[in-house]
């Protein structure tokens, strides 16, 4: 029995800032202070507050230490763990109140969150199946196998209103029902999990797999029972090594316990799982391409219909759900469909995990009930925009999504509302942009991504996105005319309507949504040949303001191409022909005398 437990985040974010070494040091110090039998160190998955990593939390007090360094460990052990004195200088300042330390759940970051998919992340040791079982793990599977028929399971999922969390938002129960009923007498069916999280800025699936891998295994077994499948595949990208490793450990443990394999819980139900690694192609997140890749072929999509529920993996009926979708299933089974349906909006039930990134204080993972407004997410949970800058737009849905401007900050987030304003839920990346971001440049960034990732099978996507990218380049280099904007919009719709798979059909979205809400920025680039945010290099000139320049020569010495000349104590000048617009002079100038416009 341990009197105290120290939880350390072992997610990718905190691991990269050294949480592994910190955990080791902690164990050594605990041993040194003779606390080995009293204090336990637990490596967990992601807590969500990645911006403050490495993160450590000490129970039973619930003290939340942030940005812990290796050299802080002896102090934490001798002061807090040995003598019970909290090391206040390391405590997350939001939990510091006068004379007391607030619970983490009362902080702005956590208090509006409602954790269902992430309920065990940052709470249990993902490499210990017993801890998952201690949090009601595998109870839903037991209940399903011994008390419910497959049709009853599907009915519960249908009634819960759960929709696919990968972005499409297709009702999960409906998908299962089709896979169960569409093809009679199929000799084999499959359950697949899409863990090929490719959207730039989205990392919730990784966090679930790193922090709570068993929940996916349990849910896939439940899906297997519901549709009549005995084999499952988890398709995960090889770029997630920690998640892959923990998932494999979890699968091995589940097999050892007989929770995967033959005659689970003494019933007739048999189910097993295997991991398939993705080789880094974005298009493999598309369901038909993903299955083609599992089959051992080059990851390219194929036309639908037939849909996977009818003819999927190896031409057998297949259910394919996203990691986060699966993470909701066991809780729905245990707490009932009404419980889940009581959260969210009319057509979008439950919660959604968002990966907050970009110009925001609390970068990290948040899980909020559907219907929460973007304003609450950005300003209350996310802590607002740093350096007093103004909010310009939020980008959701990655390269398939769009930008949401300030005027729509108060709409409740759900599938249908986001589509109505020209964006989409996507897998849940939420990138915040401030006044220093150029929206044309953002659109170009996402287009560059789709140009790189287009698989090349269909022409509208392969050539269309490339041409679209070239048009954007023309705009940002100041060579476009107004009619190019109309041409560009036409091409967007052409690509959308004619591409084979979701990648191409959604690729123009970043362009269309920025054209819709930030047309003035496009016009400024085209007509005035100016980039209002000061991002597009070709449209910028660097200038020294004579009145402010003290002639200190710092800029001239910092210029890598010798474009700045002048004598000491006299205002300097930039030779625009030589200038490569690197910005080095601006960082060197102590007087704010250099501007770009």
């Amino acid at each position: 029995m341990y009197r105290s437990q120290v939880l350390i985040c072992g997610g990718t974010g905190c691991t990269s800032s050294g949480s592994d070494k910190i955990a080791k040091k902690l164990e050594e110090e605990i041993e040194l202070n003779g606390l080995a039998g009293e204090v336990k160190v637990v490596r967990t998955g992601c807590f969500g507050l990645c911006a403050l990593g490495p993160i450590m939390i000490v129970y039973p007090e619930g003290t939340f230490y942030s940005m812990v360094k290796l050299e802080d460990i002896p102090e934490i052990v001798s002061e807090h763990l040995l003598k019970g004195r909290v090391v206040t200088r390391l405590v997350y300042d939001e939990t510091l109140a006068e004379n007391e330390i607030k619970s983490l759940n009362e902080t702005n970051f956590y208090k509006k969150q409602h954790r269902i998919a992430l309920r065990n992340c940052g709470v249990i040791n993902p490499e210990n199946i017993d801890e998952y079982i201690g949090m009601d793990g595998y109870r839903a599977l037991g209940k399903v196998l011994t008390e419910m028929t497959p049709d009853e399971v599907i009915q519960v999922v249908l009634d819960s209103g759960l929709r696919g969390r990968g972005g499409g938002g297709f009702p999960t129960g409906k998908k299962w029902q089709l896979a169960r009923n569409l093809v009679k007498d199929a000799d084999q069916k499959y359950v697949c999990c899409n863990a090929d999280e490719g959207d730039p800025g989205a990392f919730m699936d990784r966090s679930v797999l790193e922090g709570d891998p068993h929940v996916v295994i349990e849910a896939m077994a439940i899906a297997g029972y519901a549709i009549g499948a005995t084999q499952g595949y988890i398709y995960i990208r090889a770029e997630y090594p920690i998640a892959v490793q923990r998932l494999q450990i979890a699968i091995d443990q589940a097999r050892e316990y007989g929770l995967l394999g033959k005659n689970i819980f003494g019933t007739d139900f048999c189910f097993d799982l295997d991991i398939r690694l993705g080789a880094g192609a974005f298009v493999c997140g598309e369901e038909t391409a993903l299955m083609t890749s599992i089959e051992g072929n080059r990851g390219e999509p194929r036309p639908r219909p037939p849909f996977p529920a009818e003819s999927g993996l190896f031409k057998k009926p297949t259910v394919l759900n996203n990691v986060e979708t699966y993470a909701n299933i066991p809780q729905i089974i245990l707490n009932g469909a009404e419980w889940f349906a009581s959260m969210g909006t009319e057509k979008s039930k439950g919660t959604k995990v968002f990966a907050l990134g970009g110009k925001i204080h609390n970068t990290g993972l948040v899980e909020i009930p559907m219907g929460t407004t973007l304003r609450e997410v950005i300003y209350e949970i996310g802590g607002g925009i740093p350096n007093g800058k103004k909010f310009k737009a939020a980008q959701t849905g990655g390269p398939s999504g769009g930008c949401i401007p300030a005027e729509h900050l108060d709409i409740p987030i759900d599938y249908d509302n986001l589509i109505a304003i020209g964006s989409m839920m996507g897998s849940g990346g939420l990138i915040v942009m401030d006044e220093d971001n150029c929206m044309v440049d953002i659109a170009k960034f996402f287009l560059q991504f789709t140009v790189d990732e287009s698989c090349g099978k269909c022409t509208p996507c392969r050539l269309g996105t490339k041409r679209l990218y070239e048009m954007l380049e023309k705009i940002t280099s100041g060579n476009a005319a107004m009619e190019d904007l109309d041409k560009m919009e036409k091409l967007c719709y052409y690509i959308k309507n004619n591409s084979l798979c979701g990648l191409g059909q959604t690729a123009p979205n970043p362009v269309l949504s920025t054209l819709r809400y930030f047309k003035d920025e496009y016009i400024a680039h085209v007509k005035d040949k100016k980039c209002p945010a000061g991002v597009c290099q070709d449209l910028l000139t660097y200038k020294i303001i004579d009145l402010k320049c003290k002639g200190c020569t710092a800029c001239a010495r910092g210029c890598p191409v010798g474009a700045i000349s002048g004598t000491v104590k006299q205002p300097h000048v930039i030779d625009t022909n030589k200038c490569i617009k690197c910005g080095a002079c601006i960082t060197k100038c102590k007087f704010g005398a250099i501007i770009k416009e």
């Binding site: 341990y2 437990q5 039973p60 019970g84 079982i133 007989g258 003494g266």
Partner: protein
């Protein structure tokens, strides 16, 4: 092969461990004075006894934690029991054995062991 019963057994065993990680402001707090004076007087076995006892018996809503010097060093080890809505009870000169009694009678039974409280020494 795991049966439902085996699963339930693991769950019950592990629940006591993972429950330590829940935060609930409505829970009773058992606070052990762990300053130099407390440690010198033998507070560590007391802390351990409380922590183990609560977890072994699977008692929920009770948190065992430490504090610094309470200021009554001659009475250490001092243990305070703070239940929401009730007056704080201060036990003095605690031992591991007395800790087991406190869990049994006070925490579970709801009856304050007045013979060990600070009032008994002052009177």
């Amino acid at each position: 092969m795991k049966s439902l019963e085996e699963l339930a057994a693991i769950r019950n065993k592990m629940q006591n461990q993972v429950n330590l990680r829940s935060e609930d402001s409505s829970c009773t707090r058992i606070v052990v004075g762990m300053a130099t004076c407390g440690i010198a007087a033998g507070a560590r076995p007391v802390l351990k006894a409380f922590s183990d006892g609560i977890q072994e018996k699977g008692i929920k809503d009770v948190m065992v934690t430490q504090t610094g010097c309470v200021g009554l060093c001659q009475y250490e080890p001092i243990v305070e029991v703070m239940a929401p809505g009730k007056e704080k009870v201060t036990y003095i000169k605690m031992t591991a054995e007395k800790a087991a009694e406190v869990i049994e009678h006070h925490i579970i039974g709801g009856e304050v062991l007045t013979k060990y409280t600070i009032n008994s020494a002052i009177q």
